[in-house]
Amino acid sequence: MGGYGDVQMIDENGLRVDGRGPGDLREITIQTGVVPVADGSCRMTWGTNEAIVAVYGPMECHPRKIQRQDRAVLDVAYNMAPFSTTDRMRPGFNRRSREVSKVTKDALESVVLLELYPRSKIRISIEIVTAEAGTRCVGLTAASVALADAGIPMTDMVVSVASGKINDIVVCDLNKEEDNYGEADLPMGILPNSGELVFLQMDGDLSQEEFNQAWQYNIDAAQSIHRLMVDSLKGGEN
């Protein structure tokens, strides 16, 4: 979190640089079936973020040492394409990508009915083609849609969204410019039907009160995103 509090990012009317109010989301579109050779797939744009997710499986699980006798395992790889960022992202091992892959896997394994497919593997590839801010939320949300598109049974889809703080004001869904100067970032993974959580991270500085506000923004935003997800799976693009 940059935290340069002297750059004015919110005007006297409480509007943000891109005209949104504190609790408003960036524009989101969702398409399924975008990777024809995959069992399920999703393309999601969110602001200028673009993520493409492919799901393969359930399939044979190798390497064998990750196989589980009583359930399927998810093999989740989150990756940023070399041309997704202003400075080219070098391909190859990357601690951040490893960590995002892990938290995404942990979130999705909480909802997929893994017990239905013992000894098998479901592969989920999340490619960030263009990155703005909040790519891990975009990737996790798009992965939920791709799993549904592949017909993999889940207790619920995961909706992921982040709120943050800028100029000491709590706002929902930071864009890239806000993220550069932001003072905190609270991404969450929410089950829209129960309100329960499967993913949670946070960086920065939030008082207990600010924290509660950011939490509430996320809970509310999850409901609107969930409607778009359901619509996309019904066949329409939003």
Partner: protein
């Protein structure tokens, strides 16, 4: 690239189709799949293209870096071409270090572009002996239903043609377009059954034998060849392929030039 157990049956089926001059997806021997191409699709890249050939979908993105020139070529910029086939593109692609297949893909596309001389490397000099531009062409597969070679080559040349050198962002002058003097085009042929076909789909690659990649320039000049995989071919077969490549490359060049 793990090999499934089905290929034997698939091979037999493809061989039978070949005997009847037919292909598994109904195309004729020299017929390419439906082609879509668009440029400037990646907002963070300085040049980009998306190509779809049937169910094969790829991106190409161009980025620039400033580097020190090689001591024997102090006035010349460089080109680096990298193909990454990540697991998103198909169930047989796995993560990990670059596979021999993806290394070959990157190198063959790279050679076709480089050897055609379409990039004016002298125009990439910023300060002789100190700073030159390195053009980085990243080829990225979204969906692999066969013939990534031609899809990558087409997306690559289209992305380069659309690229703008980001001199302002690097504070070394004004932005200017990366003008390409030529449009090299790759055409690829796979031996399926007893004969070569153009633009093989995924099942034809899986049940086929060797492949031959030809990159031709504006004037039918040959800039790059590559024979891949195990297999034998005759001079006569090659001559036939070369003949088709001369025709087809002209059609594809028109499409690229019109983007």
């Amino acid at each position: 690239m793990a090999l499934p157990l089905v290929p034997k049956l698939l091979r037999a089926h493809l061989a039978e189709l070949a005997e009847n001059d037919a292909r598994i997806d109904g195309r004729q021997r020299w017929e390419g799949r439906n082609l879509e191409a668009e440029i400037s699709v990646l907002p963070r890249a300085e040049g980009s293209a998306r190509v779809r050939m049937g169910d094969t979908i790829v991106f190409a993105g161009v980025k620039f870096q400033i580097m020190k020139p090689y001591s024997d070529r102090p006035n010349q910029g460089g080109l680096m071409c990298s193909a990454e086939i990540r697991p998103v593109a198909g169930r047989h692609w796995e993560s990990g270090p670059p596979s021999p297949e993806s290394i070959e893909l990157g190198r063959v596309v790279d050679r076709g572009i480089r050897e055609s001389g379409c990039i004016d490397v002298d125009a990439l000099c910023i300060i002789p002996g100190e700073k030159v531009w390195q053009v980085i062409l990243d080829l990225f597969a979204i969906s692999d239903d066969g013939n990534l070679f031609d899809a990558f080559a087409l997306a690559g040349i289209a992305a380069l043609r659309s690229a703008v050198v980001p001199a302002e962002r690097f504070e070394v002058g004004e932005d200017y377009p990366l003008n390409l003097s030529k449009t090299p085009i790759m055409c690829s042929y796979h031996k399926v059954g007893t004969r070569f076909v153009y633009d093989a789909c995924g099942r034809e690659e899986l049940g086929g034998d060797e492949r031959i990649h030809i990159t031709l320039g504006d004037d039918d000049h040959v800039h790059s060849l590559q024979k891949g995989l195990k297999g034998i071919f005759t001079t006569k077969e090659f001559t036939e392929i070369m003949g088709h490549a001369q025709e087809r490359s002209k059609e594809l060049r028109k499409i690229v030039d019109s983007l």
